[in-house]
Symmetry: C2
Subunit: 215 residues, 2 copies
Protein backbone atom coordinates (compact mmCIF):
# COMPACT_ATOMS: atom_id res chain seq x y z
CA UNK A 1 0.00 0.00 0.00
CA UNK A 2 1.46 3.34 -1.05
CA UNK A 3 0.43 6.39 0.96
CA UNK A 4 0.88 9.71 -0.82
CA UNK A 5 0.96 13.17 0.74
CA UNK A 6 -0.30 15.88 -1.61
CA UNK A 7 -0.03 19.60 -0.86
CA UNK A 8 -2.56 21.75 -2.69
CA UNK A 9 -3.86 25.28 -3.08
CA UNK A 10 -2.36 28.59 -2.03
CA UNK A 11 -1.45 29.72 1.45
CA UNK A 12 -2.03 33.17 2.93
CA UNK A 13 0.44 35.32 4.81
CA UNK A 14 -1.35 38.04 6.68
CA UNK A 15 -0.10 41.63 6.74
CA UNK A 16 -2.73 42.65 9.31
CA UNK A 17 -6.05 41.06 10.41
CA UNK A 18 -7.60 41.80 7.00
CA UNK A 19 -4.94 42.02 4.31
CA UNK A 20 -2.76 39.18 3.14
CA UNK A 21 -0.38 38.07 0.41
CA UNK A 22 -1.51 35.07 -1.63
CA UNK A 23 -1.90 33.78 -5.17
CA UNK A 24 -4.73 32.44 -7.31
CA UNK A 25 -3.98 28.73 -6.97
CA UNK A 26 -7.39 27.03 -6.97
CA UNK A 27 -6.42 23.60 -5.64
CA UNK A 28 -7.82 21.96 -8.79
CA UNK A 29 -4.53 20.31 -9.74
CA UNK A 30 -4.11 18.98 -6.20
CA UNK A 31 -7.65 17.64 -6.22
CA UNK A 32 -7.10 15.92 -9.59
CA UNK A 33 -3.81 14.44 -8.38
CA UNK A 34 -5.61 13.08 -5.30
CA UNK A 35 -8.28 11.57 -7.56
CA UNK A 36 -5.68 9.98 -9.88
CA UNK A 37 -3.75 8.52 -6.93
CA UNK A 38 -6.93 7.07 -5.42
CA UNK A 39 -7.84 5.56 -8.81
CA UNK A 40 -4.52 3.69 -8.71
CA UNK A 41 -5.43 2.27 -5.30
CA UNK A 42 -3.15 4.47 -3.22
CA UNK A 43 -4.01 6.14 0.08
CA UNK A 44 -4.00 9.92 -0.06
CA UNK A 45 -3.52 12.68 2.51
CA UNK A 46 -4.18 16.21 1.19
CA UNK A 47 -2.83 19.26 3.04
CA UNK A 48 -4.63 22.21 1.49
CA UNK A 49 -4.62 25.96 1.88
CA UNK A 50 -7.87 27.97 1.60
CA UNK A 51 -9.71 26.90 -1.57
CA UNK A 52 -13.33 26.68 -2.67
CA UNK A 53 -13.10 23.36 -4.52
CA UNK A 54 -13.88 19.94 -3.10
CA UNK A 55 -11.35 17.16 -2.67
CA UNK A 56 -12.18 13.48 -3.22
CA UNK A 57 -14.02 12.24 -0.13
CA UNK A 58 -11.73 9.20 0.06
CA UNK A 59 -8.72 11.42 0.67
CA UNK A 60 -7.82 12.48 4.20
CA UNK A 61 -7.97 16.28 4.19
CA UNK A 62 -6.09 18.68 6.46
CA UNK A 63 -6.90 22.37 5.98
CA UNK A 64 -4.34 25.06 6.72
CA UNK A 65 -4.01 28.80 6.09
CA UNK A 66 -0.36 29.85 6.23
CA UNK A 67 2.83 28.31 4.85
CA UNK A 68 3.99 27.67 8.42
CA UNK A 69 0.81 25.67 9.09
CA UNK A 70 1.21 23.76 5.81
CA UNK A 71 4.77 22.84 6.75
CA UNK A 72 3.74 21.80 10.25
CA UNK A 73 0.96 19.53 8.94
CA UNK A 74 3.33 18.02 6.36
CA UNK A 75 5.99 17.40 9.02
CA UNK A 76 3.36 15.42 10.93
CA UNK A 77 2.14 13.40 7.95
CA UNK A 78 5.18 12.87 5.71
CA UNK A 79 6.82 10.33 8.06
CA UNK A 80 3.62 8.25 7.68
CA UNK A 81 3.70 8.48 3.86
CA UNK A 82 5.80 6.99 1.08
CA UNK A 83 5.91 10.04 -1.14
CA UNK A 84 5.10 13.72 -1.44
CA UNK A 85 3.58 15.54 -4.39
CA UNK A 86 4.06 19.23 -3.71
CA UNK A 87 1.33 20.74 -5.90
CA UNK A 88 0.53 23.62 -3.55
CA UNK A 89 1.60 27.17 -4.24
CA UNK A 90 2.57 28.19 -0.72
CA UNK A 91 3.30 31.87 -0.19
CA UNK A 92 7.07 32.02 -0.17
CA UNK A 93 7.29 35.45 1.41
CA UNK A 94 5.77 36.68 4.64
CA UNK A 95 5.77 40.09 6.29
CA UNK A 96 8.47 40.40 8.95
CA UNK A 97 5.86 42.01 11.18
CA UNK A 98 2.13 41.26 11.24
CA UNK A 99 0.07 44.19 12.53
CA UNK A 100 -2.42 43.38 15.32
CA UNK A 101 -4.83 46.00 14.02
CA UNK A 102 -5.89 46.87 10.52
CA UNK A 103 -3.20 49.17 9.15
CA UNK A 104 -4.64 52.67 8.75
CA UNK A 105 -4.28 54.57 5.54
CA UNK A 106 -2.27 57.73 6.08
CA UNK A 107 -1.74 58.90 2.51
CA UNK A 108 1.89 57.80 2.78
CA UNK A 109 3.65 54.90 1.10
CA UNK A 110 3.88 51.73 3.17
CA UNK A 111 7.15 49.86 3.27
CA UNK A 112 6.46 46.19 3.73
CA UNK A 113 9.50 44.14 4.63
CA UNK A 114 9.06 40.55 3.50
CA UNK A 115 11.19 37.55 4.31
CA UNK A 116 11.12 34.10 2.79
CA UNK A 117 9.00 31.44 4.41
CA UNK A 118 10.50 28.02 4.97
CA UNK A 119 10.21 25.97 1.78
CA UNK A 120 7.78 23.10 2.34
CA UNK A 121 9.01 20.78 -0.43
CA UNK A 122 12.70 21.47 0.26
CA UNK A 123 12.28 20.87 3.98
CA UNK A 124 10.55 17.55 3.44
CA UNK A 125 12.47 16.48 0.33
CA UNK A 126 15.91 17.07 1.80
CA UNK A 127 15.14 15.21 5.02
CA UNK A 128 13.32 12.24 3.51
CA UNK A 129 14.06 8.62 4.32
CA UNK A 130 15.63 6.37 1.67
CA UNK A 131 12.31 4.65 0.90
CA UNK A 132 10.53 7.98 0.37
CA UNK A 133 10.23 10.04 -2.81
CA UNK A 134 9.42 13.68 -3.50
CA UNK A 135 7.82 15.29 -6.55
CA UNK A 136 7.86 19.08 -6.77
CA UNK A 137 6.00 21.51 -8.98
CA UNK A 138 7.63 24.53 -10.59
CA UNK A 139 5.67 27.44 -11.93
CA UNK A 140 8.03 29.56 -13.94
CA UNK A 141 7.53 32.60 -16.12
CA UNK A 142 10.93 32.41 -17.84
CA UNK A 143 13.77 29.94 -18.45
CA UNK A 144 11.46 27.23 -17.13
CA UNK A 145 13.46 24.01 -17.61
CA UNK A 146 16.67 25.42 -16.18
CA UNK A 147 14.95 26.90 -13.16
CA UNK A 148 12.87 23.79 -12.61
CA UNK A 149 16.00 21.63 -12.56
CA UNK A 150 17.73 23.93 -10.09
CA UNK A 151 14.60 23.68 -7.93
CA UNK A 152 14.65 19.89 -8.19
CA UNK A 153 18.27 19.84 -7.02
CA UNK A 154 17.82 22.40 -4.25
CA UNK A 155 14.65 20.71 -2.96
CA UNK A 156 16.03 17.15 -3.24
CA UNK A 157 13.19 16.07 -5.53
CA UNK A 158 13.08 12.93 -7.65
CA UNK A 159 10.92 14.57 -10.30
CA UNK A 160 9.69 18.08 -10.92
CA UNK A 161 6.55 19.01 -12.83
CA UNK A 162 6.82 22.28 -14.79
CA UNK A 163 3.73 24.29 -15.51
CA UNK A 164 3.10 27.86 -16.53
CA UNK A 165 1.27 30.78 -14.98
CA UNK A 166 -1.65 30.11 -17.36
CA UNK A 167 -2.40 26.96 -15.32
CA UNK A 168 -3.45 29.03 -12.31
CA UNK A 169 -7.19 28.89 -11.69
CA UNK A 170 -7.69 27.16 -15.06
CA UNK A 171 -9.31 23.78 -15.67
CA UNK A 172 -6.54 22.88 -18.15
CA UNK A 173 -2.83 22.49 -17.81
CA UNK A 174 0.23 21.80 -19.93
CA UNK A 175 3.19 20.21 -18.19
CA UNK A 176 6.62 18.69 -18.59
CA UNK A 177 8.10 16.29 -16.06
CA UNK A 178 11.84 16.58 -15.52
CA UNK A 179 13.91 13.84 -13.88
CA UNK A 180 16.88 14.36 -11.58
CA UNK A 181 19.19 13.86 -14.55
CA UNK A 182 17.53 16.81 -16.29
CA UNK A 183 15.65 14.73 -18.86
CA UNK A 184 12.10 15.49 -19.91
CA UNK A 185 10.54 12.13 -19.01
CA UNK A 186 6.91 12.96 -19.79
CA UNK A 187 4.70 15.72 -21.13
CA UNK A 188 0.95 16.19 -20.98
CA UNK A 189 -1.60 18.75 -22.11
CA UNK A 190 -5.32 18.77 -21.42
CA UNK A 191 -7.73 18.85 -18.52
CA UNK A 192 -6.13 18.85 -15.11
CA UNK A 193 -7.71 15.42 -14.51
CA UNK A 194 -5.96 13.93 -17.55
CA UNK A 195 -2.69 15.70 -16.76
CA UNK A 196 -2.89 14.42 -13.17
CA UNK A 197 -3.26 10.83 -14.46
CA UNK A 198 -0.08 11.31 -16.54
CA UNK A 199 1.79 12.65 -13.51
CA UNK A 200 0.66 9.69 -11.41
CA UNK A 201 1.53 7.22 -14.20
CA UNK A 202 5.05 8.66 -14.32
CA UNK A 203 5.39 8.52 -10.53
CA UNK A 204 4.07 4.95 -10.54
CA UNK A 205 6.52 3.89 -13.24
CA UNK A 206 9.64 5.65 -11.96
CA UNK A 207 9.23 5.93 -8.20
CA UNK A 208 6.68 3.45 -6.86
CA UNK A 209 7.15 0.26 -8.89
CA UNK A 210 10.98 0.22 -8.77
CA UNK A 211 11.02 0.81 -5.01
CA UNK A 212 8.23 -1.74 -4.42
CA UNK A 213 10.13 -4.37 -6.41
CA UNK A 214 13.27 -3.90 -4.31
CA UNK A 215 13.34 -6.66 -1.70
CA UNK B 1 -37.30 53.23 -10.65
CA UNK B 2 -34.20 53.30 -8.44
CA UNK B 3 -31.02 51.88 -9.88
CA UNK B 4 -28.40 50.86 -7.33
CA UNK B 5 -24.70 50.24 -7.90
CA UNK B 6 -23.22 47.70 -5.48
CA UNK B 7 -19.50 46.97 -5.20
CA UNK B 8 -18.67 43.56 -3.79
CA UNK B 9 -15.85 41.18 -3.01
CA UNK B 10 -12.12 41.79 -2.71
CA UNK B 11 -9.77 43.10 -5.34
CA UNK B 12 -6.27 41.86 -6.07
CA UNK B 13 -3.13 43.95 -6.50
CA UNK B 14 -0.44 41.89 -8.15
CA UNK B 15 3.17 41.96 -6.98
CA UNK B 16 4.33 39.84 -9.93
CA UNK B 17 2.47 37.52 -12.36
CA UNK B 18 1.72 35.07 -9.54
CA UNK B 19 1.67 36.81 -6.17
CA UNK B 20 -0.82 39.42 -5.08
CA UNK B 21 -2.17 41.30 -2.08
CA UNK B 22 -5.83 40.69 -1.27
CA UNK B 23 -8.22 39.90 1.55
CA UNK B 24 -10.77 37.20 2.32
CA UNK B 25 -13.92 39.10 1.36
CA UNK B 26 -16.26 36.48 -0.11
CA UNK B 27 -18.78 38.74 -1.86
CA UNK B 28 -21.61 37.20 0.21
CA UNK B 29 -22.68 40.51 1.73
CA UNK B 30 -22.69 42.16 -1.71
CA UNK B 31 -24.74 39.30 -3.11
CA UNK B 32 -27.27 39.54 -0.26
CA UNK B 33 -27.50 43.33 -0.69
CA UNK B 34 -28.18 42.79 -4.41
CA UNK B 35 -30.90 40.27 -3.55
CA UNK B 36 -32.49 42.59 -0.97
CA UNK B 37 -32.47 45.54 -3.42
CA UNK B 38 -34.06 43.40 -6.15
CA UNK B 39 -36.73 42.22 -3.68
CA UNK B 40 -37.68 45.89 -3.18
CA UNK B 41 -38.09 46.28 -6.94
CA UNK B 42 -34.87 48.19 -7.61
CA UNK B 43 -32.51 47.66 -10.53
CA UNK B 44 -29.07 46.47 -9.48
CA UNK B 45 -25.60 46.67 -11.03
CA UNK B 46 -22.92 44.68 -9.19
CA UNK B 47 -19.22 45.41 -9.73
CA UNK B 48 -17.41 42.48 -8.16
CA UNK B 49 -13.82 41.45 -7.62
CA UNK B 50 -12.81 37.76 -7.91
CA UNK B 51 -15.19 35.64 -5.83
CA UNK B 52 -16.58 32.12 -6.00
CA UNK B 53 -20.16 32.91 -5.02
CA UNK B 54 -23.04 33.56 -7.39
CA UNK B 55 -24.90 36.86 -7.64
CA UNK B 56 -28.66 37.10 -8.28
CA UNK B 57 -29.23 36.51 -11.98
CA UNK B 58 -31.46 39.60 -12.17
CA UNK B 59 -28.53 41.84 -11.27
CA UNK B 60 -26.23 43.16 -13.98
CA UNK B 61 -22.76 41.86 -13.11
CA UNK B 62 -19.40 43.39 -14.04
CA UNK B 63 -16.37 41.39 -12.97
CA UNK B 64 -13.06 43.11 -12.19
CA UNK B 65 -9.74 42.12 -10.64
CA UNK B 66 -7.90 45.21 -9.38
CA UNK B 67 -9.04 48.28 -7.48
CA UNK B 68 -8.24 50.40 -10.55
CA UNK B 69 -10.59 48.22 -12.64
CA UNK B 70 -13.29 48.41 -9.96
CA UNK B 71 -13.04 52.19 -9.92
CA UNK B 72 -13.12 52.39 -13.72
CA UNK B 73 -16.26 50.22 -13.92
CA UNK B 74 -17.92 52.25 -11.17
CA UNK B 75 -17.07 55.51 -12.93
CA UNK B 76 -18.88 54.15 -15.99
CA UNK B 77 -21.97 52.95 -14.12
CA UNK B 78 -22.46 55.38 -11.23
CA UNK B 79 -23.69 58.21 -13.49
CA UNK B 80 -26.44 55.82 -14.63
CA UNK B 81 -27.43 54.93 -11.05
CA UNK B 82 -29.19 56.67 -8.16
CA UNK B 83 -27.07 55.34 -5.38
CA UNK B 84 -23.96 53.37 -4.47
CA UNK B 85 -23.55 50.73 -1.80
CA UNK B 86 -19.82 50.18 -1.39
CA UNK B 87 -19.74 46.71 0.12
CA UNK B 88 -16.53 45.63 -1.60
CA UNK B 89 -13.23 45.36 0.23
CA UNK B 90 -10.95 46.77 -2.47
CA UNK B 91 -7.24 46.44 -1.86
CA UNK B 92 -6.25 49.88 -0.66
CA UNK B 93 -2.53 49.41 -1.22
CA UNK B 94 -0.72 48.40 -4.38
CA UNK B 95 2.95 47.75 -5.07
CA UNK B 96 4.68 50.78 -6.60
CA UNK B 97 6.27 48.41 -9.09
CA UNK B 98 4.76 45.21 -10.49
CA UNK B 99 7.41 42.71 -11.65
CA UNK B 100 6.97 41.34 -15.18
CA UNK B 101 8.42 38.00 -14.14
CA UNK B 102 7.89 35.92 -11.04
CA UNK B 103 10.19 37.38 -8.39
CA UNK B 104 12.98 34.88 -7.65
CA UNK B 105 13.80 33.88 -4.14
CA UNK B 106 17.33 34.91 -3.26
CA UNK B 107 17.40 34.17 0.47
CA UNK B 108 17.29 37.92 1.10
CA UNK B 109 14.48 40.04 2.50
CA UNK B 110 12.26 41.70 -0.07
CA UNK B 111 11.30 45.33 0.44
CA UNK B 112 7.91 45.91 -1.06
CA UNK B 113 6.98 49.55 -1.41
CA UNK B 114 3.21 49.97 -1.37
CA UNK B 115 1.19 53.06 -2.17
CA UNK B 116 -2.48 53.68 -1.61
CA UNK B 117 -4.89 52.93 -4.41
CA UNK B 118 -7.53 55.48 -5.27
CA UNK B 119 -10.49 55.09 -2.91
CA UNK B 120 -13.51 53.85 -4.87
CA UNK B 121 -16.24 55.05 -2.50
CA UNK B 122 -14.55 58.40 -1.82
CA UNK B 123 -14.02 59.08 -5.51
CA UNK B 124 -17.65 58.37 -6.35
CA UNK B 125 -19.19 59.74 -3.14
CA UNK B 126 -17.40 63.09 -3.28
CA UNK B 127 -18.26 63.70 -6.93
CA UNK B 128 -21.88 62.57 -6.82
CA UNK B 129 -24.80 64.55 -8.20
CA UNK B 130 -27.36 66.09 -5.81
CA UNK B 131 -29.92 63.36 -6.53
CA UNK B 132 -27.43 60.57 -5.81
CA UNK B 133 -26.62 58.91 -2.51
CA UNK B 134 -23.65 56.89 -1.23
CA UNK B 135 -23.49 54.23 1.45
CA UNK B 136 -20.07 53.03 2.57
CA UNK B 137 -18.93 50.05 4.60
CA UNK B 138 -16.30 50.23 7.31
CA UNK B 139 -14.50 47.21 8.62
CA UNK B 140 -12.64 48.28 11.72
CA UNK B 141 -10.64 46.36 14.28
CA UNK B 142 -10.58 49.17 16.89
CA UNK B 143 -12.41 52.40 17.75
CA UNK B 144 -15.00 51.41 15.16
CA UNK B 145 -17.66 54.12 15.45
CA UNK B 146 -15.20 57.00 15.48
CA UNK B 147 -13.27 55.66 12.52
CA UNK B 148 -16.43 54.83 10.62
CA UNK B 149 -17.68 58.38 11.04
CA UNK B 150 -14.39 59.87 9.85
CA UNK B 151 -14.66 57.55 6.83
CA UNK B 152 -18.22 58.71 6.19
CA UNK B 153 -17.09 62.34 6.23
CA UNK B 154 -13.96 61.80 4.14
CA UNK B 155 -15.83 59.68 1.58
CA UNK B 156 -18.88 61.99 1.41
CA UNK B 157 -21.24 59.16 2.38
CA UNK B 158 -24.84 59.53 3.53
CA UNK B 159 -24.65 56.42 5.69
CA UNK B 160 -21.88 54.05 6.72
CA UNK B 161 -22.33 50.42 7.73
CA UNK B 162 -19.89 49.20 10.39
CA UNK B 163 -18.96 45.57 10.56
CA UNK B 164 -16.13 43.65 12.13
CA UNK B 165 -13.37 41.42 10.85
CA UNK B 166 -15.40 38.39 11.96
CA UNK B 167 -17.83 39.15 9.09
CA UNK B 168 -15.21 38.23 6.50
CA UNK B 169 -15.98 34.97 4.74
CA UNK B 170 -18.76 34.25 7.26
CA UNK B 171 -22.44 33.64 6.51
CA UNK B 172 -23.40 35.90 9.44
CA UNK B 173 -22.83 39.54 10.18
CA UNK B 174 -23.44 42.08 12.93
CA UNK B 175 -23.67 45.69 11.87
CA UNK B 176 -24.43 49.23 12.96
CA UNK B 177 -25.51 51.92 10.53
CA UNK B 178 -24.22 55.42 11.27
CA UNK B 179 -25.76 58.54 9.73
CA UNK B 180 -23.89 61.67 8.68
CA UNK B 181 -24.75 63.25 12.00
CA UNK B 182 -22.97 60.41 13.80
CA UNK B 183 -26.12 58.73 15.08
CA UNK B 184 -26.56 54.96 15.13
CA UNK B 185 -29.73 54.77 13.02
CA UNK B 186 -30.03 50.98 12.78
CA UNK B 187 -28.40 47.78 13.99
CA UNK B 188 -28.78 44.21 12.79
CA UNK B 189 -27.34 40.80 13.63
CA UNK B 190 -27.97 37.52 11.86
CA UNK B 191 -27.53 35.96 8.46
CA UNK B 192 -26.08 38.24 5.81
CA UNK B 193 -29.41 37.98 3.96
CA UNK B 194 -31.34 39.34 6.94
CA UNK B 195 -28.73 41.99 7.66
CA UNK B 196 -28.81 43.04 4.00
CA UNK B 197 -32.61 43.51 4.20
CA UNK B 198 -32.11 45.80 7.22
CA UNK B 199 -29.49 47.83 5.33
CA UNK B 200 -31.82 48.19 2.34
CA UNK B 201 -34.76 49.08 4.60
CA UNK B 202 -32.68 51.86 6.15
CA UNK B 203 -31.55 53.12 2.74
CA UNK B 204 -35.13 53.00 1.49
CA UNK B 205 -36.40 54.95 4.47
CA UNK B 206 -33.66 57.57 4.69
CA UNK B 207 -32.33 57.99 1.17
CA UNK B 208 -34.78 56.72 -1.45
CA UNK B 209 -38.24 57.63 -0.19
CA UNK B 210 -37.38 61.21 0.87
CA UNK B 211 -35.64 61.94 -2.44
CA UNK B 212 -38.43 60.29 -4.45
CA UNK B 213 -41.07 62.37 -2.67
CA UNK B 214 -39.28 65.63 -3.52
CA UNK B 215 -40.97 67.14 -6.57
Amino acid sequence: MTRILITSGPTRQFIDPVRYISNASSGQMGSCLAGAALELGHQVVVVSGPVQIDYPSDAELIRVVSTEEMLEACRDYYPLCDGLIGAAAPCDYRPVEVANHKIRKTGQALDLKLIETEDVVATLGCSKQPHQWTVGFALETEDARFRALTKLIRKCCDLVVINGVEAIDSSENSIEIISDSGQVVATATGTKASVARQVLATIEQRLIVPKSSTP
